[in-house]
Symmetry: C2
Subunit: 339 residues, 2 copies
C-alpha cells in the first residue's frame, strides 16, 4: 500500500495500533500536540518533536537560515504551549549537505539560539550529521506543567465556547508573497514575519489556563479547519462555527481580495499559523467578560460553540449554514506543502 | 570556511561557544553522551538524540528495515546507559521518500518497537514527514538516574583503571562482510548481528555503577581510540593503554588475519561498538577482585590506566610503547562513514 493512500494521519493511526501499551509513566502518548510523562511532585513532563525538511517544509531560495532556525524551535514551543506547559530545554538535530559552509550552519544556529533565549528554552544537546542531499532539522523540546494544568485536545464539553488567539491567514499570505517574489512585499511585512518567524503563544497559554480554566487546547499548525476537526474528534463532539467571527488579518483580506480568494477560506485552511485554539466554559467566560471586553479582540476571539457529535461540523457564514469541508492538511496528499 | 575543514567535533565546539548559558536547570549540556536536566526528588533527567541518514549512516541494500529501526533506538539507549541512567520513553522522527510503501514503514517501526519493548523504552510520540530523497531517522530518548549516579566523561582520576565491557571489532567486521556480500557470512553471524542490532548496555551500566562506583563512563560509538581521547580530554588526563588486554572478538581476529589487518587496529578504530568504556578506582576494583575473577572476561576487561595529562596517550603493544595515533571518527572527514 502506498503512503499516499493512507496519508500522514493514517500512518499515525497505524503506528498507534502497533505500539504496545505505554506503561505507567506515559500519561499521554501518540496523538496529541505533545507527549506527557509523569514526574515527581505533581509536575508533568512534556515532550514534543517536529522536523522540517528542505524541499518539503522550506525552500532556502526565500527562507533565510536564521528564520529557519527560529521556526524549527518555535513550532515545537507552540506544541508545548498547546499542552499548557513551559519549555525547559531543547535538543537540535541538523543534517546538512557537505557543500554548506560553517557560516551558513552558524546562521541557522543563531536563529535557534535567538528563539531559545526569547522563550527560555536553552539548547541542551543534539546531533549534527551529513546529509547526501537536502538539509533537515529535527527539534525536540522538553517542557513541564503542573499536572492539573495539562490541556489535552480531548477535554472539550458540549456547550463550551470555541476560541482562537490572534488573527489568521498571515502565514499563508507570507508564504505566497515570498514564493512569488512580488515587488509588493512591503505591503505584507506582518504576514512575511508571521510565516518566517512565528510566535509561540507560551505566555498566552499560561494566562488563558490560569484565568479561564480552558477545557481543551491545540495549536494551529495544520490549519484552523483541520485542527477544529482534531479537537472535535478527540473530544467526541461536533461544532458550530461562526464564520463572520473568525479573525482574519488585514493583510490577508487585502491579498485575498487581490487574488479573488475568500479571506475566510484562507483563515480556515492556512497552516503554520501557530495560534492557540481552545475551548472554555461559557459561564466562566461570562463571569470574566468585564476583564476581557476591551482585551478580547487582542488576546482571543470566540469563533464557535461545541455541540453534540451528531450535529457534525457546521459553519455559519453570513445567513448560510454549511457543513465544513473535510480538507485536511497532509504532507502525503499535498505535493509541495507549506506545512 | 568549509564544514570539512572544521569537522564534526569542530562544529560542536563552535555551537557550544555561541550558545548562551544554560540557566539553572541544565546540569550538563552540549559535549557529553547526553544532557542532564535537574528534576525533583534527587532524580536527574537524561536527554539524548541521535540521527541516522541513508547513504551516510546506513545502506538499505544490506541493512534490513527492522534492524535499522532497532539500531536507531539502541544507539540512543547506549548514550543513556553511558550516563548511568535508565530510559523512560522515546520520540521517533522519520523522514521517508514517497516511493516507500506502508509495509516498509511498518517494518522499520517494528524494529523500533521491538528494541523499545526489550529495554522498556516505549514510544511517546514523534513526527513523520516526507523526504525528497534519502530516508532519515532521528530518535530522542528521555531517561533518568539518581542525581548522584550520573556518570560524566569528565570524572576520571589519575591512577584509575580504564575498563571496557564486551569484545570489540565485531561491528566493523559485520559491516565489511555485509558490504562485500561475501558468501562466508555464516562465519561472521555474531559480528553481523552486532552491526545490525547492537545491544545497549543498560543493565551492565547499572551493575557497574552500583558495584564498582565507576568514576567516569562513555560509550563506544566513534571507536575505542576516539572515545579514550574524549574521556582523557574531558577529565584533563593522559592514559597508558595495555594493547594486549584489549578484548577482540574471535570473528574479528579471523577476519583481520584473512585481510592482513591488525586485529588491535580494528578494535581501536571500529565505530558503532556500543560497549561501555569506564574508569574505576583500583582500590575498589581490588576489593572486589574475588567477585569478578571468574566473571571478568564476561563483563569487562581492564585495558589501561589513567595517567597525568603530561604523559599523553600511550599504548603498549607487546614490548613496544607508542603514542596513540590521533585518528578520530568524523562524518565530515570520512567519506561514506560507518559511524
Amino acid at each position: 500500500m502506498l503512503l499516499s493512500e493512507v496519508g500522514e494521519f493514517g500512518l499515525i493511526e497505524r503506528i498507534r495500533k502497533i505500539c504496545p501499551g505505554y506503561g505507567n509513566r506515559i500519561i499521554l502518548g501518540i496523538g496529541d500536540d505533545a507527549a506527557i510523562v509523569e514526574s515527581q511532585s505533581g509536575r508533568s513532563l512534556i515532550l514534543t518533536t517536529d522536523a522540517l525538511v528542505e524541499g518539503v517544509h522550506f525552500d532556502l531560495r526565500y527562507v533565510p537560515l536564521d528564520s529557519l532556525g527560529w521556526k524549527a524551535l518555535a513550532v515545537n514551543l507552540s506544541d508545548v504551549a498547546a499542552m499548557g506547559g513551559a519549555p525547559i530545554c531543547c535538543l537540535i538535530t541538523v543534517a546538512i549537505p557537505e557543500c554548506w559552509n560553517v557560516e551558513r550552519f552558524e546562521l541557522l544556529y543563531q536563529g535557534i539560539i535567538q528563539c531559545g533565549e526569547r522563550y527560555q528554552c536553552p539548547i541542551a544537546g543534539g546531533d549534527t550529521v551529513k546529509s547526501p542531499s537536502s538539509s533537515f532539522i529535527s527539534v525536540s523540546v522538553l517542557g513541564e506543567a503542573q499536572a492539573g494544568e495539562i490541556k489535552k485536545r480531548s477535554g472539550a464539553r458540549s456547550g463550551d465556547l470555541l476560541c482562537v488567539t490572534g488573527e489568521l491567514g498571515g502565514a499563508r499570505v507570507g508564504l505566497e508573497v515570498l514564493r512569488a517574489g512580488e515587488d509588493e512585499s512591503d505591503f505584507y511585512t506582518k504576514s512575511i514575519s508571521r510565516f518566517l518567524k512565528p510566535i509561540p503563544r507560551i505566555a498566552e497559554s499560561q494566562k488563558l489556563i490560569s484565568e479561564l480554566s480552558v477545557t481543551s487546547m491545540i495549536d494551529i499548525s495544520d490549519g484552523l479547519a483541520s485542527e477544529i476537526r482534531h479537537l472535535c474528534k478527540a473530544s467526541g463532539l461536533g461544532c458550530r462555527l461562526f464564520g463572520d467571527r473568525i479573525p482574519v488579518s488585514d493583510e490577508t483580506v487585502r491579498w485575498a481580495q487581490k487574488n479573488g480568494i475568500s479571506p475566510l477560506e484562507i483563515a480556515l485552511e492556512s497552516g503554520e499559523e501557530y495560534e492557540l485554539l481552545f475551548t472554555v466554559d461559557p459561564i466562566i467566560l461570562n463571569r470574566k467578560t468585564h476583564e476581557y471586553s476591551s482585551k478580547q479582540t487582542g488576546l482571543f476571539s470566540i469563533i464557535g460553540e461545541m455541540r453534540p457529535q451528531s450535529e457534525g461540523l457546521q459553519i455559519r457564514d453570513g445567513s448560510r449554514a454549511r457543513t465544513m469541508a473535510n480538507k485536511g492538511w497532509d504532507h502525503y496528499l499535498s505535493g509541495m506543502s507549506i506545512g
